[in-house]
Chain length 215, copies 2
Amino acid sequence: MAPRGKTRDRILAASLLLFNEEGEANISTVDVANAIEISPGNLYYHFHGKDEIIEALFDAFEVEIKQVLRAPIKKPLELEDNWIFLYIIFEEIYDFRFFYQNLADLLHRYEKLSKRFARLLKLKSETLSALLKGLSKQGFIELSDSELELFAERATMHVTYWLTYQSLYAPGASEREIIHRGVYQLVLQIIPYVASGRDDFHSLIAAYYEQVTAK
Amino acid sequence: MAPRGKTRDRILAASLLLFNEEGEANISTVDVANAIEISPGNLYYHFHGKDEIIEALFDAFEVEIKQVLRAPIKKPLELEDNWIFLYIIFEEIYDFRFFYQNLADLLHRYEKLSKRFARLLKLKSETLSALLKGLSKQGFIELSDSELELFAERATMHVTYWLTYQSLYAPGASEREIIHRGVYQLVLQIIPYVASGRDDFHSLIAAYYEQVTAK
DNA sequence: GTCTATATAGGGATAGAC
DNA sequence: GTCTATCCCTATATAGAC
């Protein structure tokens, strides 16, 4: 790990890397310090403890994901953008996947983050609802309010746990392939609600499927 | 915690209880010993370490869940039994939920269990496939092989993470209500595939919905 | 089988020199 | 800002008496 950039930033970058690879619980502050070849004392000069590192990483994640999630609430997406949007969410989660891999334990140990994460979950759910409402208003799909709510809940769970689940279910697969299939599995669930006569929508999904299988 | 039963069993029972409530990572062997009012030394007489406790608990879980999962592979279920079957799976997972709450970390630390858990996941997926095939053969639903595979994968994820997800999404809710909604959310996803003319199936789902909302 | 006492290791964290 | 040295605490694990 080359010594470039400010030490504080290097600590954060190294922590994120190691947490993602080994799991946050298995990485000590000393491990992080060793990785960037500074002393543990130096690390504690920049952060008063592991908590603060986690919090700083969460701050970064929160800023990014909020920005992403709020976009389609402000302004409905064009049809094709729905796909891309799901991609971006998955990518974002992938970048901070250590957080999702051991959510329960992490939120238990860092109580501060618990509420903040719950809010993100709620925002995620609202965004997915907004996506569906957009499709509905544009006449692509037809579903009742309660169907929409239930769908949004399932979709929220899907984006939250898909990557974690795949690391168990298909340990060898590449990030790209996993995310691809995650988006596809979500899009598939919309098909039952496609409004009759919207063959354009069906062919779009088919075209997307081509992309996926072509790898 | 009253001193009844053999010490070994009391250790396992107390461990399971505490792990489920506080998370495995937050409970030490001393905590367990204190809970049943024995000395740590005594605990180490019965188990050579925390690993062995975890392993023994996993053994118990594995035996139970395998028994459950294999039933419908051997012999297709009656229609109404599909509901009940999902209930039983959720209950089983709930009883050993500490395991699911921090899967990634736990499997990372106890490598032995990693392969065994992966096999359970595969079995789970096969069972859910068998369930769908049963419904299909009986003419209740219609779907292609690839649709069935994709559905089974989603369903496997659903039963694996539903309880964990709900503990974040609806922290206050009762076990009974969460499991209820978990089954319902899964059954709902079958609707698009119901064969035309099978109104009996639709009315069954409607009847089930009544139960759910009646609480 | 069970206890008390104790050893050991690792991670988190601080003090003080440079 | 950074290092070295050190401390404390907790969890795991063992030895030996009863």
